[in-house]
Symmetry: C2
Subunit: 164 residues, 2 copies
Protein backbone atom coordinates (compact mmCIF):
# COMPACT_ATOMS: atom_id res chain seq x y z
CA UNK A 1 0.00 0.00 0.00
CA UNK A 2 1.62 3.26 -1.15
CA UNK A 3 -0.39 6.24 -0.07
CA UNK A 4 -0.29 9.73 -1.55
CA UNK A 5 -1.69 12.22 0.95
CA UNK A 6 -2.53 15.63 -0.50
CA UNK A 7 -3.53 18.94 1.03
CA UNK A 8 -4.34 20.80 -2.21
CA UNK A 9 -4.26 24.53 -2.79
CA UNK A 10 -4.03 26.84 -5.80
CA UNK A 11 -0.83 28.37 -4.35
CA UNK A 12 0.70 25.61 -2.20
CA UNK A 13 -0.17 21.92 -2.17
CA UNK A 14 1.41 19.74 0.49
CA UNK A 15 1.89 16.10 -0.29
CA UNK A 16 3.32 13.02 1.33
CA UNK A 17 4.13 9.48 0.23
CA UNK A 18 3.74 6.77 2.87
CA UNK A 19 4.43 3.11 2.40
CA UNK A 20 2.70 0.55 4.59
CA UNK A 21 4.34 -2.84 4.72
CA UNK A 22 3.12 -5.41 7.18
CA UNK A 23 3.15 -3.59 10.51
CA UNK A 24 5.53 -0.82 9.48
CA UNK A 25 4.90 2.58 8.01
CA UNK A 26 7.62 4.38 6.08
CA UNK A 27 7.52 8.02 5.14
CA UNK A 28 9.09 7.91 1.68
CA UNK A 29 8.96 11.62 0.97
CA UNK A 30 6.97 14.77 1.61
CA UNK A 31 7.13 18.23 0.12
CA UNK A 32 4.92 20.85 -1.43
CA UNK A 33 4.08 22.00 -4.93
CA UNK A 34 4.14 25.74 -5.44
CA UNK A 35 1.95 27.26 -8.14
CA UNK A 36 2.58 30.84 -9.20
CA UNK A 37 -0.26 33.21 -8.42
CA UNK A 38 0.81 35.11 -11.55
CA UNK A 39 -0.32 32.28 -13.77
CA UNK A 40 -3.92 31.97 -14.92
CA UNK A 41 -5.94 29.28 -13.18
CA UNK A 42 -6.19 26.84 -16.13
CA UNK A 43 -2.39 26.77 -16.30
CA UNK A 44 -2.12 26.07 -12.58
CA UNK A 45 -4.74 23.31 -12.73
CA UNK A 46 -2.83 21.73 -15.61
CA UNK A 47 0.49 21.98 -13.77
CA UNK A 48 -1.12 20.45 -10.66
CA UNK A 49 -2.31 17.52 -12.78
CA UNK A 50 1.05 16.97 -14.50
CA UNK A 51 2.90 17.16 -11.20
CA UNK A 52 0.70 14.67 -9.34
CA UNK A 53 0.55 12.30 -12.29
CA UNK A 54 4.36 12.29 -12.24
CA UNK A 55 4.36 11.56 -8.49
CA UNK A 56 1.78 8.76 -8.88
CA UNK A 57 3.93 7.09 -11.53
CA UNK A 58 7.24 7.68 -9.79
CA UNK A 59 6.18 6.21 -6.44
CA UNK A 60 3.72 3.65 -7.82
CA UNK A 61 0.96 5.06 -5.64
CA UNK A 62 -1.96 2.74 -4.85
CA UNK A 63 -4.16 5.02 -2.70
CA UNK A 64 -4.90 8.74 -2.51
CA UNK A 65 -5.84 10.17 0.87
CA UNK A 66 -7.67 13.48 1.14
CA UNK A 67 -9.31 15.65 3.77
CA UNK A 68 -12.96 16.51 3.13
CA UNK A 69 -13.16 20.25 2.56
CA UNK A 70 -15.52 22.55 4.36
CA UNK A 71 -17.02 25.75 3.06
CA UNK A 72 -15.16 28.61 4.72
CA UNK A 73 -15.75 32.32 4.39
CA UNK A 74 -14.63 32.42 0.79
CA UNK A 75 -16.89 30.48 -1.60
CA UNK A 76 -14.51 31.13 -4.52
CA UNK A 77 -11.64 29.41 -2.69
CA UNK A 78 -13.93 26.48 -1.97
CA UNK A 79 -14.76 26.25 -5.68
CA UNK A 80 -11.06 26.41 -6.66
CA UNK A 81 -10.33 23.62 -4.20
CA UNK A 82 -12.96 21.70 -6.14
CA UNK A 83 -10.93 22.21 -9.36
CA UNK A 84 -7.90 20.54 -7.77
CA UNK A 85 -9.88 17.75 -6.13
CA UNK A 86 -11.54 17.07 -9.50
CA UNK A 87 -8.07 16.54 -10.97
CA UNK A 88 -7.18 14.11 -8.17
CA UNK A 89 -10.42 12.19 -8.74
CA UNK A 90 -9.63 12.07 -12.45
CA UNK A 91 -6.10 10.78 -11.78
CA UNK A 92 -7.40 8.22 -9.27
CA UNK A 93 -9.77 6.79 -11.86
CA UNK A 94 -7.17 6.92 -14.64
CA UNK A 95 -4.58 5.03 -12.59
CA UNK A 96 -7.07 2.79 -10.75
CA UNK A 97 -6.22 4.16 -7.31
CA UNK A 98 -8.47 4.07 -4.30
CA UNK A 99 -9.58 7.39 -2.81
CA UNK A 100 -9.84 7.64 0.96
CA UNK A 101 -11.34 10.71 2.58
CA UNK A 102 -11.29 11.88 6.17
CA UNK A 103 -12.88 14.85 7.86
CA UNK A 104 -10.50 17.38 9.47
CA UNK A 105 -11.75 16.11 12.82
CA UNK A 106 -10.89 12.50 11.99
CA UNK A 107 -7.39 13.52 10.91
CA UNK A 108 -6.75 15.51 14.09
CA UNK A 109 -8.19 12.77 16.26
CA UNK A 110 -6.09 10.07 14.61
CA UNK A 111 -2.86 12.04 14.94
CA UNK A 112 -3.19 13.79 18.28
CA UNK A 113 -5.99 11.92 19.98
CA UNK A 114 -8.02 15.13 20.08
CA UNK A 115 -10.46 16.12 17.29
CA UNK A 116 -10.17 19.81 18.10
CA UNK A 117 -6.35 19.94 17.90
CA UNK A 118 -4.62 23.00 16.41
CA UNK A 119 -2.48 22.91 13.28
CA UNK A 120 0.59 23.30 15.48
CA UNK A 121 -0.38 20.30 17.58
CA UNK A 122 -0.81 18.18 14.45
CA UNK A 123 2.52 19.41 13.10
CA UNK A 124 4.23 18.77 16.44
CA UNK A 125 2.91 15.22 16.59
CA UNK A 126 3.99 14.50 13.01
CA UNK A 127 7.51 15.69 13.89
CA UNK A 128 7.50 13.51 16.98
CA UNK A 129 6.64 10.48 14.87
CA UNK A 130 9.19 11.28 12.20
CA UNK A 131 12.07 12.97 14.06
CA UNK A 132 14.24 13.16 10.95
CA UNK A 133 11.60 15.17 9.07
CA UNK A 134 12.95 18.63 8.22
CA UNK A 135 11.01 21.65 9.47
CA UNK A 136 8.87 23.02 6.65
CA UNK A 137 7.79 26.62 6.70
CA UNK A 138 4.34 25.57 5.65
CA UNK A 139 1.75 23.51 7.55
CA UNK A 140 0.54 22.03 4.25
CA UNK A 141 3.31 19.44 4.34
CA UNK A 142 2.71 18.13 7.86
CA UNK A 143 -1.03 18.24 7.12
CA UNK A 144 -0.44 16.03 4.09
CA UNK A 145 1.62 13.61 6.23
CA UNK A 146 -1.20 13.52 8.78
CA UNK A 147 -3.77 12.85 6.04
CA UNK A 148 -1.72 10.00 4.59
CA UNK A 149 -1.18 8.53 8.07
CA UNK A 150 -4.95 8.37 8.52
CA UNK A 151 -5.17 6.22 5.40
CA UNK A 152 -2.33 3.97 6.56
CA UNK A 153 -4.01 3.47 9.91
CA UNK A 154 -7.57 3.09 8.79
CA UNK A 155 -7.49 -0.61 7.92
CA UNK A 156 -6.51 -1.58 11.40
CA UNK A 157 -4.67 0.06 14.21
CA UNK A 158 -1.12 -1.04 13.80
CA UNK A 159 1.53 -0.93 16.45
CA UNK A 160 3.52 0.89 13.83
CA UNK A 161 7.26 1.37 13.79
CA UNK A 162 8.33 4.55 12.09
CA UNK A 163 11.19 5.29 9.82
CA UNK A 164 11.69 8.95 8.89
Amino acid sequence: MIILGVDPGTRFSGYSILKREKSSIYLITCDFLRLSSQKPLPERVFEFCENFEHIINKYEVTDISLETPFLGKNAQNFLKLGYLRGILYFLAQKHKLKILEFTPREVKLAITGFGGASKDQVSGMVHKMFPRLPIFKRDDVTDAVAISLCAAWQIKNLAASYEG
Copy 2:
Protein backbone atom coordinates in the same frame (compact mmCIF):
# COMPACT_ATOMS: atom_id res chain seq x y z
CA MET B 1 -13.77 30.46 -33.86
CA ILE B 2 -15.37 27.19 -32.72
CA ILE B 3 -16.98 27.54 -29.34
CA LEU B 4 -17.83 24.76 -26.91
CA GLY B 5 -20.46 25.97 -24.43
CA VAL B 6 -20.92 23.75 -21.39
CA ASP B 7 -23.42 23.69 -18.57
CA PRO B 8 -21.74 21.02 -16.41
CA GLY B 9 -23.41 18.73 -13.90
CA THR B 10 -22.54 15.43 -12.21
CA ARG B 11 -25.75 13.90 -13.64
CA PHE B 12 -26.44 15.90 -16.83
CA SER B 13 -24.10 18.23 -18.69
CA GLY B 14 -25.51 20.25 -21.57
CA TYR B 15 -23.14 21.25 -24.33
CA SER B 16 -23.23 23.10 -27.60
CA ILE B 17 -20.82 23.67 -30.48
CA LEU B 18 -21.12 27.01 -32.28
CA LYS B 19 -19.06 28.12 -35.22
CA ARG B 20 -18.54 31.81 -35.90
CA GLU B 21 -17.49 32.67 -39.41
CA LYS B 22 -17.39 36.29 -40.51
CA SER B 23 -20.79 37.64 -39.58
CA SER B 24 -22.54 34.29 -39.33
CA ILE B 25 -23.05 31.95 -36.42
CA TYR B 26 -23.74 28.28 -37.01
CA LEU B 27 -25.00 25.89 -34.39
CA ILE B 28 -23.07 22.74 -35.29
CA THR B 29 -24.50 20.49 -32.62
CA CYS B 30 -25.88 20.44 -29.10
CA ASP B 31 -26.75 17.63 -26.75
CA PHE B 32 -26.14 16.47 -23.22
CA LEU B 33 -23.87 13.99 -21.50
CA ARG B 34 -25.56 11.75 -18.95
CA LEU B 35 -23.52 10.36 -16.07
CA SER B 36 -24.95 7.53 -14.03
CA SER B 37 -25.65 8.45 -10.41
CA GLN B 38 -24.85 4.79 -9.62
CA LYS B 39 -21.21 5.31 -10.48
CA PRO B 40 -18.72 6.66 -7.95
CA LEU B 41 -17.69 10.28 -8.48
CA PRO B 42 -14.09 9.63 -9.67
CA GLU B 43 -15.50 7.47 -12.46
CA ARG B 44 -17.95 10.18 -13.48
CA VAL B 45 -15.25 12.88 -13.41
CA PHE B 46 -13.07 10.68 -15.62
CA GLU B 47 -15.93 9.99 -18.05
CA PHE B 48 -16.69 13.72 -18.20
CA CYS B 49 -13.06 14.39 -19.12
CA GLU B 50 -12.91 11.67 -21.77
CA ASN B 51 -16.16 12.81 -23.32
CA PHE B 52 -15.25 16.49 -23.57
CA GLU B 53 -11.75 15.74 -24.79
CA HIS B 54 -13.35 13.71 -27.58
CA ILE B 55 -15.69 16.61 -28.44
CA ILE B 56 -12.81 19.14 -28.39
CA ASN B 57 -10.84 17.00 -30.85
CA LYS B 58 -13.79 16.08 -33.05
CA TYR B 59 -15.01 19.66 -33.57
CA GLU B 60 -11.59 21.34 -33.39
CA VAL B 61 -12.81 23.61 -30.60
CA THR B 62 -10.92 26.91 -30.11
CA ASP B 63 -12.82 28.41 -27.15
CA ILE B 64 -14.69 27.11 -24.13
CA SER B 65 -17.55 29.19 -22.78
CA LEU B 66 -18.81 28.75 -19.22
CA GLU B 67 -21.23 30.34 -16.82
CA THR B 68 -19.73 31.47 -13.49
CA PRO B 69 -21.29 29.34 -10.79
CA PHE B 70 -22.87 30.68 -7.67
CA LEU B 71 -23.07 29.04 -4.29
CA GLY B 72 -26.61 27.72 -3.88
CA LYS B 73 -28.15 26.00 -0.91
CA ASN B 74 -26.03 22.90 -1.31
CA ALA B 75 -22.31 23.49 -0.75
CA GLN B 76 -21.50 19.88 -1.77
CA ASN B 77 -23.08 20.42 -5.20
CA PHE B 78 -21.07 23.60 -5.59
CA LEU B 79 -17.89 21.65 -4.79
CA LYS B 80 -18.79 18.90 -7.29
CA LEU B 81 -19.37 21.55 -9.94
CA GLY B 82 -15.81 22.62 -9.13
CA TYR B 83 -14.58 19.09 -9.96
CA LEU B 84 -16.06 19.33 -13.46
CA ARG B 85 -14.93 22.90 -14.04
CA GLY B 86 -11.41 21.87 -12.99
CA ILE B 87 -11.48 19.24 -15.74
CA LEU B 88 -12.57 21.85 -18.31
CA TYR B 89 -9.76 24.19 -17.17
CA PHE B 90 -7.32 21.31 -17.49
CA LEU B 91 -8.55 20.47 -21.00
CA ALA B 92 -8.45 24.14 -22.03
CA GLN B 93 -4.80 24.39 -21.02
CA LYS B 94 -3.92 21.03 -22.56
CA HIS B 95 -5.44 21.94 -25.94
CA LYS B 96 -4.51 25.65 -25.80
CA LEU B 97 -8.13 26.83 -25.80
CA LYS B 98 -9.36 30.15 -24.51
CA ILE B 99 -11.81 30.13 -21.59
CA LEU B 100 -14.59 32.70 -21.58
CA GLU B 101 -16.84 33.09 -18.56
CA PHE B 102 -20.11 34.90 -18.14
CA THR B 103 -22.31 35.45 -15.13
CA PRO B 104 -25.84 33.98 -15.29
CA ARG B 105 -27.09 37.56 -15.55
CA GLU B 106 -24.86 38.32 -18.55
CA VAL B 107 -26.08 35.18 -20.31
CA LYS B 108 -29.75 36.00 -19.73
CA LEU B 109 -29.25 39.61 -20.73
CA ALA B 110 -27.43 38.68 -23.94
CA ILE B 111 -30.07 36.17 -25.00
CA THR B 112 -33.35 37.73 -23.88
CA GLY B 113 -32.43 41.36 -23.28
CA PHE B 114 -33.39 40.92 -19.62
CA GLY B 115 -30.91 39.88 -16.91
CA GLY B 116 -33.64 38.44 -14.69
CA ALA B 117 -35.14 36.18 -17.38
CA SER B 118 -36.41 32.71 -16.44
CA LYS B 119 -34.96 29.44 -17.78
CA ASP B 120 -38.06 29.09 -19.97
CA GLN B 121 -37.54 32.53 -21.49
CA VAL B 122 -33.92 31.68 -22.31
CA SER B 123 -34.97 28.35 -23.78
CA GLY B 124 -37.78 30.01 -25.78
CA MET B 125 -35.40 32.58 -27.23
CA VAL B 126 -32.84 29.93 -28.17
CA HIS B 127 -35.56 28.01 -30.02
CA LYS B 128 -36.64 31.21 -31.79
CA MET B 129 -33.08 31.74 -33.01
CA PHE B 130 -32.62 28.13 -34.08
CA PRO B 131 -36.10 27.00 -35.19
CA ARG B 132 -34.86 23.61 -36.35
CA LEU B 133 -33.47 22.78 -32.91
CA PRO B 134 -35.29 19.75 -31.46
CA ILE B 135 -37.05 20.16 -28.14
CA PHE B 136 -34.86 18.74 -25.39
CA LYS B 137 -36.41 17.58 -22.18
CA ARG B 138 -33.66 19.27 -20.25
CA ASP B 139 -32.84 22.97 -19.93
CA ASP B 140 -29.12 22.13 -19.74
CA VAL B 141 -28.92 21.96 -23.53
CA THR B 142 -30.52 25.33 -24.30
CA ASP B 143 -28.51 26.80 -21.42
CA ALA B 144 -25.33 25.54 -23.07
CA VAL B 145 -26.42 27.05 -26.40
CA ALA B 146 -27.08 30.38 -24.65
CA ILE B 147 -23.64 30.24 -22.96
CA SER B 148 -21.88 29.56 -26.25
CA LEU B 149 -23.84 32.36 -27.97
CA CYS B 150 -22.53 34.80 -25.36
CA ALA B 151 -18.98 33.88 -26.36
CA ALA B 152 -19.78 34.22 -30.06
CA TRP B 153 -21.27 37.65 -29.49
CA GLN B 154 -18.78 39.03 -27.04
CA ILE B 155 -16.18 40.26 -29.53
CA LYS B 156 -18.62 42.54 -31.26
CA ASN B 157 -22.32 42.56 -31.78
CA LEU B 158 -22.84 40.87 -35.07
CA ALA B 159 -25.93 41.11 -37.19
CA ALA B 160 -25.81 37.35 -37.17
CA SER B 161 -27.59 35.04 -39.53
CA TYR B 162 -28.46 31.73 -38.01
CA GLU B 163 -28.38 28.28 -39.39
CA GLY B 164 -29.88 25.58 -37.19
